[in-house]
Amino acid sequence: MRPEERPEEIKVGIADWKTALSPARLITLGLGSCVGIALYDGVNKIGGLAHIMLPESSQFREVDNRAKFADLAIPDLLKSMLRLGARRAYITAKLAGGAQMFSSADKRLTILNIGERNTQAAQRVLASLGIPILAAETGGNYGRTMILDTSSGEVLIRTIGRPLKII
C-alpha cells in the first residue's frame, strides 16, 4: 500500500486514550510495563485505545491524569465510545504490553512486577464492566507497539527483532 492510500493513523500517547471510527487506525508506540487496551465494537466499527501506566488510582492522593490508571482510563474510554454510538453488548477487548523490561541481580529493581499488575488490573476492570477479552499479547521482557485497525478489529503488535503479530 502506498502511504497516501493508508487510512488515517491516530496516535495515542503515554497515559492517554482516544477513540476512532472505521477505517482509522489507532496506534500507541513502545509499550513496556505499560498496558495497551483496545476496545472494539465490530458491528458499528468503532474503536478505542488506551495506554495506561499504573493499575490503581486509589494509591495516589492526587490524580493529575485519569488516563494514567487502568481503573479510571478503561471506564472513561468505554463511555466515550458509547457516546460515539457504540453498543456496550458488542464491545470486546484486546490487550498488549505489561512486560518486565529491566533485569537485575538486585531484587528491589524488579520485585514490583508492575507490568503484570497492570495486566491484571486491566483484566479486572474489563471483567467488572462485562467486556470479554478476545486476545492478549502480554508479559515477557520486550517492548511492543500496538495498532488497532478499526475496519477489522485486528490488533497488530510490532516489536524489535520479532515478526509482526496480529491478534
Partner: protein, 205 residues
C-alpha cells in the same frame, strides 16, 4: 514541598555545575580504568516531564540501552543512564579501545561494559551531589534493558517504584580524538527527596 517547576535559572545552573563536576569525576575514573584519557562534558541539564524526555532522546520505537540503579540514603531516588543503541555500541568500542564501528551487536560482554560505565557515572554524579549537599547516597547494583525507547523509559519510571513523572536530566558527552558519543543521565528523586537535596545544596526554594 519543593516542586520541579519552581526551580529558577540559578538553581538549574547550580545543578548543571554539579553535573559538570560529576562528569569530571567520571572522566578521571574512566581514565584510571582504561589507562588513557576519555573526556566528558555536560552540554545541558534541566528538569523535564516524562513526555518531553522521550522526544529529547529520540523516537519512541528507536532502540536504546539503559542502566538503572536505586539510590538509598537521606534522599532516596533512582538514577538511569540512557543512550541510543548505536551510541551504546560506539561507547563499547571506546571503552574496549577498539576502532569505532567494530561492535555490531550488543552481546553479554558489551552489556557488562555498559553496566560498568553506568556504575562509574552513577558513582561520580552521586559523589558530586554528596560533596555539595553532605548527604549520603548509596547506589544499588544496576539493572539493564535494551529495547524501544518508549518502552524502556516508561518502565524505568515504573518498574522500581513510581514516584514522579519528572526527572533531573543531565546530558553527557563522551569523546576522545576520534569520536563523540551523546547519552543522558537521569535522577528521579522520591517525593520528599528533591526538597532534601535542594535544601542541602543551599538552593532552598
Amino acid at each position: 514541598m519543593a516542586s520541579w517547576e519552581s526551580l529558577n535559572a540559578l538553581q538549574l545552573d547550580a545543578l548543571k555545575e554539579i553535573g559538570n563536576i560529576g562528569a569530571g569525576n567520571a572522566a578521571t575514573s574512566l581514565a584510571n580504568m582504561l589507562g588513557r584519557r576519555v573526556q566528558m562534558t555536560v552540554p545541558r541539564a534541566g528538569i523535564l516531564p516524562l513526555k518531553e524526555i522521550v522526544s529529547l532522546v529520540g523516537e519512541e520505537e528507536e532502540a536504546v540501552a539503559c542502566v538503572e540503579l536505586i539510590v538509598s540514603g537521606q534522599a532516596p531516588s533512582k538514577i538511569f543512564f540512557l543512550l541510543a543503541e548505536e551510541s551504546a555500541l560506539l561507547l563499547i568500542d571506546l571503552m574496549m579501545g577498539r576502532q569505532a564501528g567494530s561492535t555490531r551487536t550488543l552481546d553479554e560482554m558489551g552489556v557488562s561494559v555498559l553496566l560498568e560505565v553506568g556504575n562509574i557515572l552513577a558513582g561520580s554524579f552521586l559523589n558530586a551531589f554528596a560533596e555539595f549537599s553532605r548527604l549520603t547516597f548509596i547506589p544499588s547494583v544496576p539493572a539493564f534493558a535494551c529495547d524501544m525507547l518508549g518502552a524502556v523509559l516508561t518502565s524505568a519510571f515504573l518498574e522500581s517504584g513510581y514516584f514522579s513523572d519528572r526527572a533531573l536530566v543531565i546530558e553527557t558527552q563522551f569523546y576522545d580524538e576520534t569520536v563523540k558519543i551523546s547519552s543522558h543521565f537521569f535522577l528521579v528523586p522520591e517525593e520528599q527527596a528533591l526538597g532534601t537535596i535542594l535544601k542541602s545544596l543551599g538552593l532552598e526554594i
